[in-house]
């Protein structure tokens, strides 16, 4: 073993009183391969880092251990310091003797600290340098969809200078069609014309995506339009394909009867009711209106908002008696609680029911029967107009796009977020994003947030025109790989494919750009051909070896 390991012990400005740093330093000094142990006070501050760089310059270690706070904080900082000092930033291992030792145990914890640093020393012995390279990334962005989210995203992306192509199956860009009137101050018609006249945005209508190849930074997408096929290359793809609506009613009952005159009893959709309310023509006002929602589909943000504003409008405009039957009124959308209170104050009656109401039609009236939870008894509402529950489902073509792009769907058929809290607009495929209602249950406020998020993410990804990637962090050894396809099938990010290498053999090749460094492939490879630098089997086992030697 010819390594020269430099160890920096940071006491975080005296924040670890239950570790005896002298003993710690002395014990580490005896470990084979350790060239020096430098006690420090605040390694992360400017003076600390300067001292680190000069000590490396003086003693020429070929790898470094830093013992102190959690790597979650400053690992990147120390890697850069190593780089400045002329070492590959990978050759660093940190020992968390603060959050995971000094701060969680009472009494003297020097022995445990010694073990933790030895674990890091064992690991750093085996680390390999990783080269970085700037790989080119295309700045063009493809937006799939033609509704509100697609239009909004296209506008914002173009505004920051990225060339955008919008592709939609429909004959024109859409944007209206929402039952609500208030779009948080957005004028959809103006947005649509802005997209159509923006020289930086190319709009392809009556067009479909039929094939894709490539990975983040360079996707090749084949689009068919009226029989012609064109290919475009894009750095990122944004899916904004929206949703479809249907109605859910009691089985056996006809759904909305479109041509029945309003005066007679009828069942309508929210959309139709909105149109009736907006219409300047005086129609015979329905004396009693009932809304039913939140029974068949509990993901009901949009239906909730639609119901509340339409119920309020019906009271105000027509002075109808309005009943709302639902399981719950979910008011987590912005403005929803206010609307709910207004509706109640205005005299809308809300009936909370557990089971799906039974709906019957007779003699020109619709009767809804259900069990009122608060009264604890059966109740019936007889009305002139019933607004049926709206069901939202993924847009047709979502399944196809999902398999074409390798993007997962969730249990309801909408696009699956990479992580619902941290990365809501990313899919598990790097470079492919999903925004708006095609992700599931959103409201307008959240759609706008999605648009902002995706613009930031896409901008970060493609705007510089290049990405710095670590080369071969996860790598399949061509000698050992038997092309069993296990890793190709298992990779959650679709980053692995079979490819021919120089000697003609076909092996698994892991994309440096698309790989998200999870290591699932390395663990499962039956030939142990894939090793994940930094977490290789020997590097993990070396840490285990150090345990119990104090």
């Amino acid at each position: 073993m010819n390594e020269r390991i430099g160890v920096f012990l940071c006491n975080c400005g005296g924040g670890m009183k239950n570790i005896d740093f002298d003993t710690l330093g002395a014990k580490l000094g005896h470990v084979p391969g350790v060239t020096f142990v430098e006690p420090m006070s605040n390694l992360c501050l400017a003076e600390g880092r300067d001292r680190m760089i000069s000590r490396i310059g003086e003693d020429n270690p070929d790898r470094v251990v830093v013992a102190g706070c959690s790597p979650e904080f400053q690992e990147r900082l120390f890697r850069r310091a190593l780089h400045e000092a002329g070492l590959n930033g990978q050759l660093l291992s940190m020992a968390n003797i603060r959050e995971q030792c000094s701060w969680v145990h009472d009494g003297d914890v020097t022995a445990k600290a010694v073990e933790l640093v030895k674990m890091a020393v064992n690991r750093v012995r085996l680390l390999q340098p990783l080269e970085k390279e700037e790989l080119p990334v295309r700045r063009e962005v493809l937006v799939v969809g033609g509704g509100f989210s697609a239009i909004g995203a296209a506008l914002e992306l173009s505004r920051i200078g990225l060339p955008v192509t919008v592709v939609t199956r429909e004959v024109s860009l859409d944007g209206s069609g929402e039952p609500q009137e208030d779009f948080h101050g957005c004028d959809i018609n103006a947005m649509r014309s802005a997209v159509e006249t923006d020289p930086g945005i190319s709009v392809l209508t009556s067009a479909r995506v039929v094939a894709t190849r490539g990975e983040v930074g360079d996707f090749t997408v084949a689009i068919t339009r009226e029989g012609d096929e064109t290919c475009g290359r894009y750095g990122a793809i944004v899916l904004a394909t929206g949703y479809e609506t249907g109605t859910c009613l009691a089985p056996g009952l006809n759904s909305r009867a479109e041509n029945e005159p309003i005066g007679e009893a009828s069942i309508v959709s929210q959309e139709q009711l909105s149109q009736m309310l907006r219409s300047p023509i005086t129609v015979s006002r329905p004396g009693t209106i009932a809304f039913v929602f939140d029974f068949c589909d509990e993901n009901s943000r949009f239906p909730t908002l639609a119901t509340l504003s339409n119920a309020l409008a019906a009271r105000e405009k027509w002075e109808s008696e309005v009943y709302v039957l639902c399981k719950d009124v979910k008011v987590d959308s912005e403005g929803a609680e206010h609307l709910y209170r207004e509706a109640r104050e205005c005299g809308v009656v809300f009936l909370k029911c557990e089971d799906v109401p039974r709906i019957t039609r007779a003699n020109g009236r619709v009767t809804i029967e259900a069990r009122d939870v608060y009264l604890g008894e059966e109740t019936a509402v007889s009305c002139d107009l019933l607004v049926a529950e709206e069901l939202r489902s993924p847009a047709g073509g979502t399944q196809t796009l999902s398999s074409l792009l390798g993007v997962r769907l969730d249990s309801r058929g909408f696009y699956q977020d990479e992580n619902v809290h941290l990365y809501p607009v990313s899919s598990e495929k790097k470079g492919v994003f999903t925004i708006g209602e095609c992700r599931g249950d959103l409201d307008v406020g959240r759609v706008l947030t999605d648009i902002s998020s995706v613009v930031m993410s896409v901008c970060q990804l493609v705007s510089p025109g290049k990405i710095e990637a670590e080369l071969e962090r996860v790598h399949a050894d061509p000698q050992k790989c038997v092309a069993c396809l296990t890793c190709v099938r298992v990779c959650p990010h679709g980053a692995i494919r079979l490819s021919r290498v120089e000697n003609g053999k076909e092996i698994a090749v892991i994309s440096d750009l698309a790989c998200d460094a999870c290591g699932v492939c390395a663990a499962i490879c039956p030939a142990k051909a894939i090793q994940f630098e930094g977490y290789r089997d020997d590097q993990i086992l070396a840490q285990i070896e150090a345990i119990g030697e104090a």
Binding site: C484, T486, P526, A527, K528
Partner: protein, 219 residues
């Protein structure tokens, strides 16, 4: 490819009872692909043996090695030095590999750790299904590329048994497709249903005289 499955642990431990130092030998071809005997499985099995012996108060020393193909003499020769050090070899290769090892190292007991089961393919990740029975007289041209000899539980050659369950599943094992339903659907898709009217004579199981031996034309 050849599909194998690890033997029950008791069998393996019993066969190793007398030995203190063992080489756990994997193969980098078929058994790697079907997760039965590649380098990963070698590491796991060796670890289990050490833990198991230790739990019983004994001890076992294990060496580990995986060759690219255990049925090639030249490749097996590469681990001769490791074989020399041990009392016995535990091979995770298919029967062909075990026997090649045994022939190369005649003085060492070479013990099988897997059961070689069938020729098959992955239906999906981690699930291998039998496809071919190596009968030496392939008639897949007559059955639309579905072999009823091994994929029909009864090995029928001339149509289904009449007990096919709803959904096209086998009478004997409802988890498995009725092979003749598969044949029918395939031939139907290709417009060749007339093939089903052709009578297939009973199989000549002596088409491959055991032990098989094939001399390829000189290249």
């Amino acid at each position: 490819m050849i599909i194998a499955e690890r033997k029950p642990m008791e069998e393996i431990e019993q066969s190793l009872e007398a030995y203190k130092k063992v080489l756990v030998a994997g193969c980098g071809t078929c058994v790697t692909v079907c997760w039965a005997g590649g380098e990963r499985e070698v590491g796991i099995l060796a670890s289990q043996l050490r833990l198991g012996r230790g739990a019983g108060g004994g001890e076992i020393v294990t060496l580990e090695a995986t060759v690219e193909r255990q049925c090639e003499r030249e490749m097996v020769a590469e681990i001769s030095d490791k074989v020399a050090e041990v009392d016995a070899v535990l091979s995770l290769a298919c029967g062909s590999g075990v026997q090649t090892m045994a022939e190369m190292f005649e003085d060492k007991p070479v013990l099988p750790a897997v059961n070689t089961t069938f020729i098959g393919m992955p239906e999906k990740e981690g699930l291998w299904v039998e496809m071919c029975g190596a009968c030496g007289d392939c008639f897949l041209d007559r059955t639309g590329g579905v072999c009823p000899m091994v994929r029909c539980a009864k090995g029928l050659l001339n149509g289904p048994c009449g007990g096919t369950r709803k959904g096209g599943m086998c009478e004997i094992d409802p988890e498995k497709d009725c092979a003749w339903v598969l044949v029918y659907r395939r031939l139907d898709k290709q417009g060749r249903l007339d093939l089903m009217r052709q009578y297939l004579v009973p199989k000549n199981y002596r088409a491959v005289k055991r032990p098989g031996r094939i001399q390829a034309a000189k290249a």
